[in-house]
Subunit: 414 residues, 4 copies
Amino acid sequence: MKTFSEEVTLEGHIIDSWTLPRAFDAIMDMGGTFDVEEIQVGRAKDQPSFAKLKVHAENEHKLENILLALQALGATLASRDDAAYKPAPDFYSTTHLPTQVRLGARWVDVQNTEMDLVILVNPETGEARMVPSAAVRKGELVVVGHEGIRIIPPQRPRNREIFSFMGSNVSSEHPKRLVIEEIAREMREIRARGGKVLIVAGPAIVHSGAGPLLARLIREGYVQVLFGGNAICTHDVESVLLGTSLGVALHSGQPVPGGHRNHMAAINTIRAQGSLRKAVENGVLKEGIMYECIKNNIELVLAGSVRDDGPMPDVITDVQQAQLKMRAALQGVEMALMIATMLHSIATGNMLKASVKVVAVDINPAVVTKLADRGTFQALGLVTDAELFVRELANALAALEEKEAKQPAKAGKS
Amino acid sequence: MKTFSEEVTLEGHIIDSWTLPRAFDAIMDMGGTFDVEEIQVGRAKDQPSFAKLKVHAENEHKLENILLALQALGATLASRDDAAYKPAPDFYSTTHLPTQVRLGARWVDVQNTEMDLVILVNPETGEARMVPSAAVRKGELVVVGHEGIRIIPPQRPRNREIFSFMGSNVSSEHPKRLVIEEIAREMREIRARGGKVLIVAGPAIVHSGAGPLLARLIREGYVQVLFGGNAICTHDVESVLLGTSLGVALHSGQPVPGGHRNHMAAINTIRAQGSLRKAVENGVLKEGIMYECIKNNIELVLAGSVRDDGPMPDVITDVQQAQLKMRAALQGVEMALMIATMLHSIATGNMLKASVKVVAVDINPAVVTKLADRGTFQALGLVTDAELFVRELANALAALEEKEAKQPAKAGKS
Amino acid sequence: MKTFSEEVTLEGHIIDSWTLPRAFDAIMDMGGTFDVEEIQVGRAKDQPSFAKLKVHAENEHKLENILLALQALGATLASRDDAAYKPAPDFYSTTHLPTQVRLGARWVDVQNTEMDLVILVNPETGEARMVPSAAVRKGELVVVGHEGIRIIPPQRPRNREIFSFMGSNVSSEHPKRLVIEEIAREMREIRARGGKVLIVAGPAIVHSGAGPLLARLIREGYVQVLFGGNAICTHDVESVLLGTSLGVALHSGQPVPGGHRNHMAAINTIRAQGSLRKAVENGVLKEGIMYECIKNNIELVLAGSVRDDGPMPDVITDVQQAQLKMRAALQGVEMALMIATMLHSIATGNMLKASVKVVAVDINPAVVTKLADRGTFQALGLVTDAELFVRELANALAALEEKEAKQPAKAGKS
Amino acid sequence: MKTFSEEVTLEGHIIDSWTLPRAFDAIMDMGGTFDVEEIQVGRAKDQPSFAKLKVHAENEHKLENILLALQALGATLASRDDAAYKPAPDFYSTTHLPTQVRLGARWVDVQNTEMDLVILVNPETGEARMVPSAAVRKGELVVVGHEGIRIIPPQRPRNREIFSFMGSNVSSEHPKRLVIEEIAREMREIRARGGKVLIVAGPAIVHSGAGPLLARLIREGYVQVLFGGNAICTHDVESVLLGTSLGVALHSGQPVPGGHRNHMAAINTIRAQGSLRKAVENGVLKEGIMYECIKNNIELVLAGSVRDDGPMPDVITDVQQAQLKMRAALQGVEMALMIATMLHSIATGNMLKASVKVVAVDINPAVVTKLADRGTFQALGLVTDAELFVRELANALAALEEKEAKQPAKAGKS
């Protein structure tokens, strides 16, 4: 039987990081076979390995699919052609891993890494970037096929840091205090070096009484970007202006008479001002999460949804507009905390490149699994309560602060 | 101590439908007191009761809040003034129950019943309708305060129909087959009398392989309105064009090589056609849920969300636009089945008046509780699997059909 | 049509506590009808009401069932006969509410209130108590039928304390800090007056690192009775002896090499000692939850289950034996905290009389609903994380302690 | 620095089945290092591979732990000594994988494979078997240390059968119909060859109305062993004798007046008979799950729990007794379906050897994950509804039966 073949090479920590067995799996799962033409396994743990495989499949379509799968694992085709591109609809679809394309016999880093996008190239400037396929304009050149594309898969970190629990989220039965302390330490380091932390915040944070704690984290410089929806904005403003969240008094936990109208009152108050910024400038809004975002020039993106009341004037009601703003705000983000909001967290997760550290917090284990299952070694899921998580995180940050205050000489990482 | 007082009356099945004890509760919970000035309890179960209460509170604000709460229970103020209205921001906020306003000494039904809206009145024509506060234009007259408003609370039905399990959803431990048969019976009756059934459909229906069953229900005339998002549309088209859902082959349950690109291929195919309707007309889309909606002129509203890929051209990306379309499509709907989609179900639930029968199906009990907890006797929650629910419903409808075919003389309710 | 009738009376806060509408519901739901022969509604909130109903049913069996249901609501039959009793199998089945039987024309309190038991009477001594039907010995006299039985239903408390949220559990979206503070306050009051608090403790408390906090609560006198199983005992001992819980190091959250053998090592160590008490006396076990229970003479009942490894020598492997011990230990308990253990919590809930304040904590909302749904105004459910709950509770208790230390003059309730 | 070293070899599909990278991981995670002394990777997929590693650690304790971990992956120590054994407390703790011990220079299969047990050896007869450590009697010889033990790890099956989705359970979003068909096919094959299927059955099966379907499966010979507790037994008998389950009528889904006493009546009826078998013999119990178990001589083990009412006379109230009976009944079981009962399913899972095919069905994803996460390629989790699962399974079996009836020539696997 005639078969179609291609040679591929894999380099690096391909056994240690489980790349080689995954490659074997992929080939066989997709109906192909292979010969191992060459293999060198590093004798010690810090030596890279190398493998050259010859992959066979019964038809060209199967072979192509196998090569695509191997590519996502970091394999390079032996035939080192440039990437192909044309102004065409059959796109190469990206992963969230660092990616290079070969243009003019040179490997070029692709900008704006994000899943399920297409790669636009400019052969003249030698530049490449990822964009949503809907954003491709007529005449722009898009990478097609799979030649000349190289993906750099994540290497499993050897030091035992909390983000290396790939795939496995921290269940409700593990000691979360330790994990939260580690997150706090990471946040302090990012702040110290001027990096960016994103919080995707659900309304339960306010509703459960943890709003002032999140506001404090923003004020203290631990948060640079905040994503949310109409609900967290409305709840926050309601809590600041009227002391309630969905009509429940935050100082007592009891519903307030007539309180079900409070969220509409909060919305109408801000609508009358025109925007959150104006409400802050005019002294109408004097504290809270939204106030701190405005005051501290946090990048704030409030994305609307079809279940919104009102909405607040700052909420972007067109979801494609909102996606554009979110994408722009994600530049430079190193860590993303997603707390108790499935919709906005999934939206954000879709846009995050693999190197961003992700912490997903929700009381529903199914949500946490969905968010933390990113195929990287940088995601961490916590099945827990939003209120108590934020409280513990604030405590952990304060404890670190205090500890460092006592050791003025030692800067940076404790 | 000086107190502020007001007389209110309650009529109807006020003990049987728990209205009177709720009123007592409300007054005392909100810090008021009361005297029962008159009470007549119907001697038998079909005789209405009547109560006149004098309500006291220590200040006018408290009294007002109490009266507002009593009004939501159907109480009428003894002082029978007309409703007050002005072109003003401090609105009366509506419930989802049938509501009347007093205009020109006449009780007028308010149109477009929906929660958390405001009431627009036209004193000249004597008309009143509910609109979102954001939709009020300058100069329009809006009801303020609480005088001249009458709410007709639900009476608990005495016959033991499935929708009378107020509040309590059907857990995973109850016999669902019986409940599903009852829903099927109801759907057949609505179809028989030319009524409208809405299905709010989540993508899991397609993903779990139940798409063809839902398509069949539409084709057979059991569904008149369909709400969903980009995901169900994309999954459905992907399954029809490529046999997969998110890259998983529906005939085998196995991932297809390269299948993760299929959903973008499905979107791009329809985008190239311009719309679902054109794809159907041009013979590109030949079956499935979307196909049946187009072919059978079902009212289809696809509301976008910030987590969407693409999106499909028929998806409304502005969420306020989407809300308007949904509101329009809800006119005349008698029954709403919400299956495995929290976002669109909550959005729909917010817009439904209390008299619509609601069935909420989800595998997550928290979602079912949220959706089915509508304060009416018309909501029913089922903690179960979307695929198996749709399959059982299709079976139950087919069984009823067969049964009736054998009894050609007997029309209507079996 | 011939009907069977009986006169019943209801007294007390029957409208305010929703007793009367529930009685109407019950009669009609069970196919009966009624006439209201007399009704007096207290004019003000502190005046009791009174109703006399004539209940009709089409046959004696239906009437009997209706009367039984009314009795559970506190109704008294107009015909004031003594309770009937015989050495017989068709028992009256108890509720968890305070109950009286009429013996020798006198209303006698029934001891050992618990659900689903039978009532043993001794007409000579005029005593009555509840026992499991399996425990009835030949010749003992058991109450049958429904005459001469009076149940005292709970009155809804008017002051807004946290335990009055009947039925509705505190979801993950409510401010738990306030609720936890209230629980702490209650625990301090019970300790102050020498009362008893029961904790039903699941292994996640140890596994999540909160074991030392629970040990501290016991040491400080906040806990008088502790129920659990083999798992919490084993985890606690493993954590104390080896620093791990199921092989995971509690100081780092990382699995320890070979650690999966640690729980068997812990069990074997205690088995070699003979019992937990001997292990404490011999200096083998020097801290932890079990240690504190032994040292402080807490009533400790460890009930075995079929999934146990080992088990520990103190675990009662016969479940009926375990039930007897639990029943005995429950005497005098005023408050029960059930934390992250469904099996032992349900077992305990079945044995608790209605007047015990119940707090059910679990991350699974379905478990919380099951535990907190006790038909009383004394149950409170918290959907949250065991670790963070125990941590917050310990913090709240410490804060109250500190606060009171500053106000030495004011004793008791703050 | 002085290090301690040992040579180990790994053979078989060690790359394909991910054994080698797991071994590398284990060594480095536990603080060791290694040299790859020899490696041969099979050139094609059906050729086995071979690796010889030299493992280093800084002390003997670490080295020992590493060797233990490698052994669980199938590694053999180069030093081929016999297993060590003594009448001692520091046992080797077993896995649920096939295991051999070296006795008298011969590799001997260990009988009664089960997790967390100890290995008893008889050097004279050359036999070895696993027993719970609590069951070891004085003087018996128990394997200690890790020399002379060989574990045969599972090889990943290449044909794409449903049980090869290791670890990943089938979420509520996947097509379950296909999976259920596959389970049905497997059950027919086992029945055809006279094998054994175990069902671990929770009470929701009866409560949800699916009891008669399970009874049918037993009658038709699809079930050879049934495990459950007091609840399923009581519910089943109540449903047969009184038509209700926990007082809810199964024909209508409505609570029956006085029905809360029915489960005690069911228990008392069987207690009066003495046992289920006598109740069947005396014509008291004429159908249902328990009836079919008795009539068809199914191995039935009912294990008690501390939350039981009654209990039924056949319920084993001592949990260690119950474990012994379950262990005995598990001999020869090839497939285990665990449906909607966490307690009994975990107990069973602990006792099952790795080669048994496991299907775990529950509506709570956390339960399914816990049950299906067995580190084998033979476990399958379904997040779905018990009632609808049993119904679909019965349908699928009936459909296969019908299909085969039409093809009488073709026996065995369709």
